[in-house]
């Protein structure tokens, strides 16, 4: 495994937002045993946009699940903001997800019965923050992703791109600065997808960290670093261009 690549905004001695150490995960028993991950190490620093690539079944989604505490590792260690997730109870894990980690899914996964603003403020509400404050925070988060005027719409009244922006706003509300995104542009046309990545990039430039699973090399160009997984192992790690890909490969929204 190579050491992490230096990026533009990275200052020496800065604490990692996410650290994975020797992470393995096996599913099933005996003959049906599947090694989804075999000893993965990864460190993500604040402001970093890391793209995870690889063919189907290489362990990308498993990695994301472990990093977010949705799944537990067979061995190895996950540290979020310096805190190990291994020994935490289920409710403590939930608290970590509320306060430190934001998820973005391919199919958006907004709660259909909540408005855009309510979806965004959901983690804060679950954390017990007072309603008026969370509403203000949600409004601000929606403004940051450029859809402040859609706050009172329900998800089924929003386009795919708009829904994904709501999901990103939800992932970053409060003090959280780690976004775990699983194919965030998978269900979007390329122009809309570019728009979503622009938003993610902008959030990273503002200090958040993002781990984005994708299989589209053009999207990986947005990343500061690209990690290539195959058969549960990191086989390549290289620097990305850290910004919009060259003209002609995609258009900004």
């Amino acid at each position: 495994m190579t050491s992490t690549t230096t990026t533009r905004k990275r200052a020496p001695g800065q604490r990692a937002v996410l650290q994975l150490r020797g992470l393995t995960r096996t599913h099933g028993q005996g003959g049906a045993r599947v090694h989804a991950l075999r000893g993965v190490d990864l460190t993500v620093l604040p402001g970093e946009f890391v793209a995870v690539m690889g063919p189907s079944g290489s362990g990308k989604s498993t990695l994301l699940g472990l990093a977010g505490g949705l799944d537990s590792a067979t061995s190895g260690e996950v540290l979020v903001e310096g805190q190990g997730l291994g020994g935490l109870s289920r409710s403590a894990l939930s608290a970590v997800r509320r306060r430190a980690i934001g998820y973005v899914f391919q199919d958006f996964n907004l709660i259909p019965t909540l408005t855009a603003a309510e979806n965004v403020s959901l983690p804060r509400e679950l954390d017990g923050a007072p309603g008026r404050r969370t509403r203000g925070e949600a409004q601000a988060a929606l403004a940051e992703v450029g859809i402040a005027d859609l706050a009172d719409r329900f998800p089924d009244q929003l386009s795919g791109g708009q829904q994904q922006r709501v999901a990103i706003a939800r992932a970053l509300i409060g003090d959280r600065r780690l976004v775990l995104a699983d194919e965030p542009t998978g269900a979007l046309d390329s122009a809309t997808g570019e728009g979503v990545l622009t938003v993610l990039r902008a959030r990273c430039d503002a200090g958040a960290a993002a781990v984005v699973v994708t299989h589209d090399p053009r999207h990986a160009e947005w990343a500061d670093r690209v990690v290539l997984l195959r058969d549960g192992q990191v086989v390549e790690e290289r620097a990305g261009s850290g910004g919009a890909p060259a003209a002609g490969t995609g258009s900004r929204c």
């Binding site: 189907s56 990308k60 989604s61 699940g65 977010g68 949705l70 799944d71 289920r90 409710s91 939930s94 608290a95 970590v96 997800r97 509320r98 306060r99 980690i101 998820y103 899914f105 391919q106 199919d107 996964n109 907004l110 709660i111 259909p112 019965t113 909540l114 309510e118 959901l122 983690p123 509400e125 679950l126 954390d127 309603g131 089924d156 939800r170 699983d182 194919e183 998978g186 699973v213």
Partner: protein, 966 residues
Amino acid sequence: MNLSAWRAALRIARRDALRAKGRSALIIAMIALPVVGVTAADVVARSSVLTPQESATRLMGGADAYLSTVRAGWRLEQAPDPDPATTLVLSQNGPKPVPTEEETTRSARPLGQLLKEALPAGARLLPVESPAGYALTSTTAGQARVQAWSLDLADPLARGITTLREGSWPDAPYEVAATTGFLAGSGLSVGGSTTLAGTHQALRITAAVEYPGDLKAERLVGRPGELGALLAAAEDRTGLTPADGPADFLVSLPGGAAFGWEDVQRANAYGFTVASRAVLADPPPDNAVPLYRDTPLSGAAATEALKSSTIAVTVVGMALLEVVLLAGPAFAVGARRSRRQLALVAAGGGDRSHIRGVVLGGAVVLAGTGALAGTVLGCLAVALGRPWLEARSGARFGHFALEPADLLGVLAIGVVTGLLAAIVPAVQAGRQPVTAALTGRAATRPPAIWIPVAGVLVAGAGTCLALFGALEGSRTRVVMLGSVIAELGLVACTPWFVGLLGRVARALPLGPRLALRDAARNRGRSAPAVAAVMAAVAGAVAVLTFQSSSDAADRADYAAAAPNGAVVLRSQQVSPASVTAVAPGSSAASVAAAASAKAAADLRRTVDQAIPGLGERGDLRNLTYGACDGRPGSFCGTVRLDMPAENLCPPAAGAAGPGGSVRLDEAQARRLLAEDPRCRPSAPAPQDVRELITGDANVLRNLLGVDDPAALQALAAGKVVVLDPRYVKDGAVPLQLTRYGAEGPGGNQLSTASLPAVAVRAKTPAARAVLSPAAAEAAGLTPTTYESVWLPAHAPGAADEQRATAAVTAHGPGAKLSVERGYGSTYGDATMLGLAIAASAVAIAAAGIATGLAATDSRGDLATLAAVGAGPGIRRRLSGFQCAAVAALGAVLGALAGFVPAAAVQRVENLGAVPRVDAGGISLGTHPLVVPWPYLAALVAGLPLLAWLVAAGLTRSRVALTRRTG
């Protein structure tokens, strides 16, 4: 849709039903349960209806006819199935109540000769003695009441009237058969013996029998002429009237001849009614029945039958509505879960009717299974529970009757119920855009506005019909119809109410907000559940409100005969006429008086011994005017307190006689009550309020609840203690004395008197006035019946009371012991509680079904919530709120809907009441609607809480965290 398309739809439906086993089982059970009930009710009803042959056998055994003597020698007219209530004796209650000469001569001839003339030649008669009254007979524990009948049960003609359960028919003198009902209650058994009260002849019980139509009968059946003769001999001591020889006979005709309608009419001409086997099996046409010509049939029985069938139809209808409402959401969710499959059917060339067909096919499969299972189970339940059912109803079935037409009808109702429940989901599934369904995008449509508008109109119309249409005609049906219509209107409004909830959810915390919005977005499953809760709660609230109103009315009308817990003993009075031997120097009257006093003293001692700790005894005697003991110069009469006219409520002054009352209109009654202090609401009076009694401090305290030194002083001073101040005028109470027959026959002499009096308030107005024995004697009033009153600290227990009653009864008839226990509700709390619990169970089931369906529907959302950081309890909390939301809305709507029928029925009851005024005061006759607040609060507030707890308690908190998102 053509046949093969239906076949395909049914195949898909069957596979789906097998795949979703839990949901299928739930729907099948919901359809099957009411079908079980209806089937069982039908089989029981059909089995309880006897064929003419069966009812003839129960009445006349193996004979051809059953003959009763109504009025020997007098002509009469009877119905083909004779009924003492309708039998017309022509010269008695006919147009001319004078017997003809022929009747007069015939009635003077002996019964045997009349029978011979009245019946076809060669008829054999078997006498039946069946007096209606009861005698007392000895048991293992003491005495029990029993009917003493006589019939030669061993005779073949009597076979079938009773069923021999044990032993053998009586065939020696003074052997009897006893009914199982009597044996069970008395502790006696076959081989034992019993002695009728007042006789010394032991009767040996050789058989245990039952009357198939009257399993609870307490009866001894002796050989002809034995029991009646015993009782007749004992008449003087038991006071029972003996039967005047046998008056009923089993009639058997020679050579298998039938007892035809002409023969019956001939017997009628001699004063006998006849129930003939042949006539019962083949009744004559109505125009051949003289009785029907002479007395028009009353429609009362028909109306009653219509009323009960209306109630039955309504109850079954509401139960089926419940099933539709409960099963509807299950079908809706089934359609939703197989949305993709339905869309594939559409993509493969199916049109809307095919999609509807698949959903309806599911209903046919599940409802058909449920209805079939329910029908079979219903029949089985009746077959297995037959002995219990027969014992409960008190009569054996004629035969086990399965009516194929009925059962097919019930089966069809079950299937139709399921289809009705699936119609809305089927139509919705048919409308689903195919692409949206295939891509998994949900399309929620706003509800059509005309539905709630129409619902409100229908609800309003139903309410008006129930409340105001009930003014005339067949009230029960109108009230029920109106209530059901109003409820259906509310059912149509529930989707709108649910939508409204979704809109007000904005301000709520996350959990309730999610639950309400979810309910609002998925009206397909939440609205029927809310409606189901509503229907259950409405039914319970209606019955509870009506019951609590009736209970309050009964409580208001209840009059205590003494303070609570008081024991009252009334002794028997020995009549001078019964004194047979008089010693020289004394009169029959003095002997009788001494005997009465001794009997009273004995009885008092008996009670004091039977119930320890009764405390001080108050002895009183009722006063009258005139000794009435047959001595020369004695006369009979009454004494009555006379309320001064100026103290009467003015309209009551116009009443005819002292007990009379005057009708008022309601406005006048209310004005008098408000303005005139002499007019007060009449307090409920005990049935036999004592007019004037002698007594002391103990009587005042124990009987009247008076503990006032002023009253004691007044007694000591020889004054009358009057318990209603309106009777006292200028320190005296006017009395009205009536002397019967003073001026020739029929003429009564009235006179007045006045005694110094003091008015005292009584807690229980069991007497109008009390004075000391000395004062009574000075006033020339005669003491009669002895009574005693005890007021123990606690009312004696049931065992003590029974023992004392037995001891008192042993002294002979006429003495009576009673314990005042206050108002006892006939609408037991247990009934009301049971009703509330049943309604709660249905409501929780409905809310639970909706919640379970919501939970399976929102698995994805829960995973998202978990990913966003919701704690492990979120699923549980959400389920709780979803369940509570359904229960709360349903309970509130149900409480409102339930008032309509209750208020309407109460209104109907009050319509017949007329305000009246008498000396006691004004009674409005109406009773207010009493709201059972504790139950209402329990239902409206408790149900949501219970729903929350049940749902939260039964939901697993674990959420599948990982999910493939790629």
